[in-house]
């Protein structure tokens, strides 16, 4: 059976939150836009070459993990113990095969750890030292804990710990508290995939696992409906099964991707204080990038012209040729 060639689509986010205009200088905004474009290029090269959506989202997330501006891989935030605990997840829309890791620090690219769980074990989700063992057996590249840290993240931790000690109110922007990276894609065969990776929350309690590795909450992919990667207050994405809720509204409620994704962010999450956003693509190549806070680092690329689209706040897209 031959499958009709389909125009590939790639969508990514680099975290949602109330990113203050005041502290985001033009130079820093340019750096984020450049990071988004670099990650789009990395993933779209796979798709344009006829590669699989699964490989494209992994390549995209690896590029974001390598970039210390984003809270995943290098640049991951610190726990209250000044350690790193990273979560990552990967799902293949063809058969919903999936892999995820929770609370690891070692593999240079946590998304490859998720892939190792998917491909090398009969399991879907693995945590801590057991997950690390799988990564070592897989021969993944490891880095010292210090490699993941940056001065900016350490400063954010110290500021937050000092605030807690003083009893002062938490006035950090949401962007300072959390962050996540993720990508969804449709490849030229019409298959979907989703990948998400995060360092979690600045000064989080060690052991806290967010929505990233909880399939149906922060990560989901099914060729029949859509692929989703979310960012924001993970606990509320778990309690609403946000990603699977979008899938369910499309399958059982007859909603479009745009309608379902927007309603979940605006009408399900926002009323209970769940700030955040998500990126989504459906089987027809439609994309949605809803968020209910001031900004979400985001971008997409699709079609033959392959223009790289990037944005941070509610603003016109910046465009650049691939």
């Amino acid at each position: 059976m031959s499958e009709a060639p389909t125009s590939p689509v790639l969508v990514l986010h680099g975290g949602a939150g109330t990113i203050p205009h005041a502290t985001l200088t033009p130079a820093r905004a340019d750096a984020y836009h450049a990071g988004i474009r670099a990650a789009l290029r990395a993933g779209y090269a796979v798709l344009a070459d006829g590669g699989a959506a699964l490989d494209a989202v992994v390549a995209t997330v690896m590029a974001l993990e390598d970039n210390p501006l984003f809270n995943a891989g290098r640049g991951a935030v610190y726990t209250s113990d000044a350690t790193h605990e990273m979560d990552a997840a990967l799902m293949d829309g063809r058969d919903r095969r999936a892999g995820a890791v929770a609370g690891i620090c070692g593999p240079k690219h946590p998304i490859l750890a998720a892939r190792a769980v998917m491909e090398r074990t009969p399991h879907v989700l693995m945590g801590g030292e057991g997950a690390m063992r799988v990564c070592r057996d897989a021969g993944l590249e490891f880095m010292d804990p210090a490699w993941f840290g940056t001065e900016a993240r350490l400063a954010a931790l110290k500021t937050e710990l000092a605030r807690r000690a003083s009893g002062a109110a938490d006035t950090r922007s949401d962007a300072d508290k959390h962050g996540t990276v993720g990508a969804v894609a449709r490849d030229c065969r019409g298959h979907l995939a989703a990948a998400t990776s995060t360092g979690g929350l600045t000064a989080k309690t060690p052991g806290r696992i967010g929505d990233t590795p909880v399939f149906g909450a922060g990560t989901w992919a099914d060729d029949a409906t859509c692929a989703i990667s979310a960012t924001g207050q993970g606990e509320l994405f778990i309690r609403t099964a946000a990603a699977h809720e979008i899938d369910a509204r499309m399958r059982w409620g007859g909603q479009s991707l745009e309608h379902a994704a927007t309603e979940v962010i605006e009408k399900l999450l926002a009323p209970i204080g769940g700030d955040g956003g998500l990126v989504a693509v459906d089987a027809q190549g439609n994309v949605a990038l809803p968020f209910n806070c001031a900004g979400m680092y985001r971008g997409y690329v699709r079609g033959a012209d392959a223009i790289l689209m990037s944005a941070i706040h509610r603003e016109p897209w910046r465009t650049e040729a691939a």
Copy 2:
């Protein structure tokens, strides 16, 4: 606003699997039935006294955790390292508040660890040592690792490790491989709750996390639809978002609880090799206990007569006055 008094309902499972008739002697079957009834009594006493569904499912699961016949708490299976790694989860249908732990060994009642995460932290899911710290801060009762083990579970581990070393085929019954306990309830105010607790799979790879603490997969509760606790091949319950799929079919597909729960087990899980079952209750007090393997330890009690119903295989219910 006064709420109409509603007849309480409690449903539990003690794990699903192909429990061989041949090895289940009448005396052993009697012991399982007695364990099911004792757990029903513990939870129903809470409901009959006007207590909350949340407290009832916790009391039910604690009774099952205390019983070494069931794979949760005392009697938890061993990992391949001859350790215990327990998962537990709790969800309140009133507002979908939730708490879960993954990969812990220490708290006598893992379901109380899940409750501590729900009540004492802003988080929903915590793993390993970080979760243990929350449990210690909560003053939970701890037991030595040896307390959780039983000779039967250790024998099962040794047999399985010897089989793996010999390269022989895996001929264990599903009941020997895994097991889980769980309960769902509707209280006299019409509120729902779900609780699940497990030791996981015999000889599992350390670090493996199953569907129990993945909300939307093995555990879910929403007053608007239903409460669910699942048991079986956790990886496939995660990849199908089994519990939230039942919720979604009721809300968006107009299906009844019985229809939705049965279809998820028979038509979604069974075709991909996902053996197992679940217990469910809806806002109207309907119950469902579908499973696609030879047996599932299960029971329920409801209404003014409060007859304790228990069963293992596909067989008539045993009944006993409360």
